[in-house]
Symmetry: none
Subunit: 412 residues, 2 copies
């Protein structure tokens, strides 16, 4: 069924906040066969909410509204909903009790403001918010489904996952079978040219190339209700896999760090890292994976030259001769991390993240990555962009991919 | 004057692309006194463009449209504009010449598709796009101003900067003065209650409370054209600052890590970190700040118990007796990092990030943070949520804030 979103918030209009809720919701709803067809972003105004609802009500069987549900004065969604459905607000005891319990556990005193948060439209079904204080509301009238959610992203996502997506999935007429192939190593246009002849047999819109910060995802889908569709998708998938080989690091939506972690775990191997330009981001990405303590022993963030010398044993004259951003220092950092940790594998990064600090010889974006697996040591040179954050991210992806390819080769 | 945005693109609805154009444009337009009041995000469909334009035309003197201007088959904005203004498409020689020159310089052959890109509505004024091939269009009819821009962010931004923002600034009746106060330590509702009586004197909509992952931002603004407005804003600002004291960590849009970094730099102090549950995120956030090498010496990501013992010198029996997630180990990690680094300050984190690994005694979300400044050592206990990523983030914010408050106290 067709979905309309209404995202409420002056901060979305003034650009203080980027509307990531809309894209996340769009993805999730698409996956269960309810594509978002229009998004209204409006201010914190009861009249604007009413006007948007009146506009969208006739054409959209599903409307999701975010924002305007918290305790401050600019939260006006509840009042607008009562007006729209021509009903009154009533005190909702379970909402108040949940709020009270939540606040008491954090030693926050209950105020009148919190009591007002439990006044809800009579025709609303209340969905329990396990991540925050604002309740979510569900209205079902004349076969229309309207949901009101808080605008705080993690609260919205949890409510979507726990209540709304399962409810809406049951209303969906189609079942999509979707597959994701996550690739690394091909630019988007080259990847497209490489597999174009394979994916052409799929209906338009059933294949998408989604460039990521580093690497490109291929998303394939088919209507799952017919057997021949499922078989066709499987054939296409096998052909792409044969063509791309180890450029595919995952066949589902897992991060590269998890794909690498799985290989390490399978091989009973452990990892240490030595980071300079990435400043800890590599360890952060590795440890974002629950269970990474199985293989991640430790990381060194040797940001200063002295730390590289003191902590990793990088020879001082190596830094003097070649500079901290050099093939030799990257190698010495990786072997240093390995020696200090008694692990099987090690990764190191050193580079000029930018935006300042570049020279003619060593421009911003220049990075060396060291990778040790057992006895094999390699160092690779990369030239990234002038964006500090992107450079850090691309460096970590490149490093993890170096290790992945080595572990992959070991496995054969 | 009031602005409406129309962002065209199926990729915005399906969530493949996050609509960063809207927030960027919202910020830029707000600054020159043309606040965005509504945003329609719609699909690549001529009818939807026409329907959105018909909707918005009567209420908005300024309408900006992005997307649907490139060479591919789903780019339909030009046709929709000709239909809306009831005019025909005519060949625009300068557009074709610019396109041809651009393509030839890149050795791309000219195709019919490119000729079609030079067919533009007769009533359009063409704005030169120096960053890409799609032209931008300006329509001025009945005192309404409509702009069509490509959806590619860097092309849109350049066209805005070079043509549209200067044009619109000349039409603006007001100038806004805006201030951001970034706070930490108050939940949103408590913050609001604390400063409510101060901000009430500002016109509605001129103050906003924006909750972040950790902390709340207060955004204040006023029309800058009258002296009494400016003075009133300054008074309000001073009162809030007096009331909130050191809960305010910045008076402009800088991250907490930068506020802490500035204090470290001012005090000629250096920092080392010892991370367990945050896995490198603290180092990552610190080094996201360009120039952080002035004060950040190194970080240890001692993820395993053995690493805590070997690398930081945490006594093995301390871990055996109290567990790795304990006040004693947090203290030992912080002092260990300090001793290994010859720095002035150190931070440590140890906790159960989740979602697994919790026990009745030590639930998921339990975190200890150690903070050493000179001779003063403190360890604080926190209970966060069951979300791994949020726990890591909140732990880093809490740690940085501990250090900030200590440095702040030193400064007095």
């Amino acid at each position: 069924m067709k979905v309309a979103l209404i995202n409420i918030g002056n901060e979305l209009l003034s650009g203080v906040t980027v509307n990531t809720n809309a894209s996340w919701m769009g993805q999730q709803l698409m996956e269960i066969g309810h594509p978002v067809q229009t998004i209204y972003t409006i201010g914190d105004s009861r009249n604007e909410i009413l006007s948007a609802l009146n506009d969208l009500w006739k054409n959209y069987p599903i409307i999701l509204i975010t924002g305007g549900l918290g305790p401050t004065h600019d939260d006006i969604t509840v009042a607008a909903m009562a007006k729209f459905f021509d009903t009154e607000l009533v005190f909702h005891q379970p909402t108040f009790d949940a709020l009270k319990e939540r606040l008491e556990s954090r030693d926050i005193p209950i105020s009148e403001r919190h009591e007002a948060q439990a006044m809800l439209p009579r025709n609303a079904e209340v969905l329990i918010n396990n991540a925050g204080t604002a309740p979510a509301l569900y209205f079902c009238e004349n076969d229309k489904h309207v949901y009101c959610l808080p605008g705080v992203p993690h609260e919205m996502r949890r409510l979507m996952r726990e209540h709304i997506l399962p409810q809406l999935e049951r209303l969906s007429p189609v079942r999509f079978q979707r597959t994701l192939l996550r690739t690394i190593g091909y630019p988007e246009s080259k990847l497209y040219d490489t597999v174009k002849h394979i994916v052409e047999s799929l209906p338009a819109g059933y294949v998408a190339f989604l460039p990521q910060i580093y690497g490109v995802d291929i998303r394939l889908q088919t209507d799952d209700t017919k057997k021949e569709n499922r078989e066709h998708l499987r054939e296409v998938l096998e052909k792409i896999k044969a063509r791309l080989g180890n450029a595919i690091y995952a066949e589902k939506d897992i991060p590269l760090a998890q794909a690498v972690g799985n290989l390490l775990r399978e091989q009973n191997a452990t990892l240490a890292t030595a980071e300079s330009c990435t400043g800890g981001l590599m360890g952060d990405m590795i440890t974002d994976i629950s269970g990474s303590s199985d293989y991640f022993f430790q990381g060194f963030v040797t940001y200063s030259n002295q730390a590289k010398i003191d902590t990793l044993g990088v020879p001082e004259n190596l830094i003097k001769k070649h500079g901290a951003v050099s093939e030799d220092v990257a190698r010495s950092m990786a072997t240093g991390a390995m020696e200090k940790s008694e692990v099987h594998t090690a990764l190191s990064t050193t580079g000029i993240a930018g935006p300042t600090g570049g020279t003619a010889d060593k421009p911003v974006g220049l990075v060396y990555i060291g990778c040790v697996v057992g006895d094999k040591i390699q160092v690779k040179r990369y030239q990234f962009s002038d964006d500090r954050r992107l450079n850090k991210q691309r460096t970590v992806y490149a490093a993890l991919n170096l290790l992945r390819l080595e572990l992959f080769a070991e496995q054969k």
